[in-house]
Amino acid sequence: MMSNLTGAERTTAMTIAGFGALIGLAMAAAGHGDPMGVHGWIVLAFFGVLFFIVASALYSPEPVEDRALSYYDDPTKVGIILALIWAVVGMFMGVWVASQLAWPDLRFEGAWSGFGRLRPVHTSGVIFGFGGNALIATSYHIMQRTSRARMPGQISPWFVLLGFNLFCILAASGYVMGVTQSKEYAEAEWYADIWLVVVWVVYFILYMRTLSRRNEPHIYVANWYYLSFILVVAILHIVNNLAVPASWTGAKSYSLFSGVQDAMTQWWYGHNAVAFFLTTGFLGMLYYFLPKRAGRPIYSYRLSILSFWGIVFFYIWVGSHHLHYTALPHWVQTLGMTFSVMLLVPSWASAGNALMTLNGAWGKVRDDATLRFMMMAAVFYGLSTFEGSFMAIRPVNGLSHYTDWTVGHVHAGAMGWVALITFGSIYALTPVLWRRETMYSWKAVEWHFWLALSGTVIYVFSMWNSGIIQGLMWRTYTETGTLKFSFVDSLVAMHPYYIARAFGGLLFLTGACICLWNVVMTILHVPQKAPELDYPTSSEAMEPALPAAE
């Protein structure tokens, strides 16, 4: 890794790491006695380790090859491994909190092990740790390949990847210490949020600079999606996290918004985190790896345009459907509801575009579990976007809201769509990235596919059942005109479904562990084989262009 950096770059990296370590030290000193102090030590340790890694190789020989002749894949490799480690950690937390719902005593004495603190570790661990790392890593890969250009610098890709992981570590470690803004999916406190802004701006600049260096006349669809992900997530993150720290030496802060404005801002953020983090970024992944693996042209460029602009335009309006029947004014709810319904068609157009692309390659879908991951992801994407638009309709939401149906819906998206496309992409990417002939074990990929699919199906079905039962129990009246069931009655009715859900999650976690093992074994034991034409060139030099359907 270090051998691909020049001496000057190593010095820069060491300076940044040293500066970061100093900030950590300052945080540790200023925040003494507060969780911020603990975070200071974590920051110090993080940058300290980086500093020594770079320093130990400071005087190693300079890179000999002309780096412009190859893509820069080192950060992608590390990103993929980090994504899988976060997947295992985050999904383990998920199985743990799911089990706590079925068996509440499954915890330790300390407050850190309670459901309220572990649950955000699960959500942030899988969304940001697993999803975020996978998005950053695949975006590095895809933006270089579809631009036929190497990334402009060697330092900024590392800064983004590692800086993002530092954010994830600060977030997760904060939650178990009780540090939270109490905003769902935006729990991390002010200094972690500021750090993420810095990282994200560098990410945006890196992406734009790579695109501007491209040797292709046009920008491929996958890049539209990645760029929308980076740009909008920055806006969402900054606005929703506007807050005034209670002091500069502590973790606590107060949101700039209050009351219903706070709720609306939060769910504008919350739903668009689903849209621009968990949807558009992963659509970028889908748009690259699915046609690549299937060896088929994208079914329709025009459909891509329709769905891209439909998705980015409609999604930003729909957050208020999280606040039906609340203090939020009725008109805002109607707007959110109607835009959610209009959003369905562009979403289905994306899923349909992916599935129609597989026409002519269904034999491969049958034989190749990697492609099957991507196909199934598109199916779940279609399913959960339909379900989402349906649940956004006010009267339907009256039944589904606050129940496990919502949890099931989220997981149909997160497991069925986001995780399956990511695993499929990782299986497609790993041999290319490490220059290997194939994955270490295709049987393990098959096992993973069926574990992941059955885990998702068990999870989603049990939550559909429990959610609808919950919703109905809460609104069942006796002939006397009073409620029939107490809340505890509905909890008792949920118990079998909670056990089934934890089991489904366990299957999914097992699959993720197999994936990590398979990737590591591929790196260690599969013979080398360089992929063809995997280096930056001007597209004219490539004549004749690769035939489309070969």
């Binding site: 006349p217 460029y301 025009r302 026409n359 107490s486 034409l533």
Partner: protein, 295 residues
């Protein structure tokens, strides 16, 4: 460069662009997509006309149906209250004995009280009202402040050691911690108290001298609240020590802890949280549960 090729499978033309082997067809957007775009947009348009939707500067479009969610809720609450009025009024006005004897009214009470109890009381007193360590059992005839429906109603209204101005107030003093009784005296009085409720020590019988010494300590320190015969005093919420019901446990360790550190249980006031109908319904429900359990 830009060579538009035909895809042999579909016959469609590509856009002529190529990215690392990926090409795109220029297929028309399927009619079904346009159809559903139109359908969903019409749905939205109709909804916008009917319901409050678009913000104007100081107001918003109200929609021709004139629906507002706050008004809807207010109407539904009124309607629900009207539907319940026939029996709800009876619950408030009728004496509890008559309610308990009225099978029609009792079916209302049973259907209603289960949920009220489950959502408000069960967290401490258990779903079956059987209590637990620290929380009284409600289905026996051992009561701190009285078990008739009027007394239960009052307890529900003001709570015990709560923030309500009329709260029932009671405290078991920390005799040991505050230096009023020594360890040995506490052990002696424990033996006496256990003898009151007939908890016979299993292996070593307590000598009559020790019992009478315990009685002396008891009369000096405990009888003011718990009464000379240990039957307690519902006027001040002092539990009966001569029965089998123990809130914090009747074994020696639990009693020692009680006498050493004192106790002060807490029950919230429900006056603002539950309506009078609901509180009376609960009181009648508990009276019935108590009757069934002690029969």
């Amino acid at each position: 460069m830009s060579v538009k090729e035909h895809d042999p499978l579909t016959g469609h033309q590509t856009t002529g662009h190529e990215w690392n082997g990926i090409t795109e067809l220029n297929t028309r957007v399927p009619r079904a997509i346009w159809f559903f775009v139109i359908v969903t947009h019409l749905y939205a348009l109709v909804t916008w006309i009917l319901l409050p939707t678009w913000p104007l500067v100081t107001t918003y479009t109200k929609g021709i149906l004139g629906i507002d969610q706050h008004e809807q809720v207010a109407k539904q609450v009124v309607a629900a209250n009207v539907a319940r009025a026939d029996w709800a009024d009876q619950i408030v006005t009728m004496p509890t004995d008559e309610i308990l004897g009225d099978t029609v009214l009792m079916s209302r009470v049973n259907a209603t009280a289960h949920q009220i109890f489950g959502d408000n009381c069960a967290a401490c007193h258990g779903r079956d009202a059987a209590g637990g360590p620290g929380f009284p059992r409600l289905i026996d005839d051992a009561w701190l402040w009285g078990g008739d429906t009027d007394a239960i109603m009052e307890t529900l209204r003001v709570g015990i050691n709560s923030t309500h101005p009329d709260t029932r107030y009671s405290q078991m003093l920390a005799f040991g911690r505050d230096g009023m009784l020594g360890r040995e005296d506490i052990r002696i009085v424990i033996d006496y108290v256990q003898s009151l409720s007939g908890i016979a020590p299993s292996d070593t019988p307590v000598s009559p001298e020790r019992i009478s010494a315990g009685e002396e300590i008891y009369l000096d320190n405990c009888a003011a609240c718990h009464a000379d015969d240990g039957t307690g005093d519902m006027e001040q919420g002092a539990p009966n020590l001569a029965d089998q019901a123990w809130i914090y446990g009747g074994d020696k360790d639990a009693l020692f802890e009680t006498i050493w550190n004192g106790r002060q249980g807490w029950m919230p006031s429900w006056e603002t949280r539950l309506s009078e109908v609901e509180r009376k319904t609960l009181a009648v429900y508990l009276a019935r549960l108590g009757q069934e359990a002690t029969q």
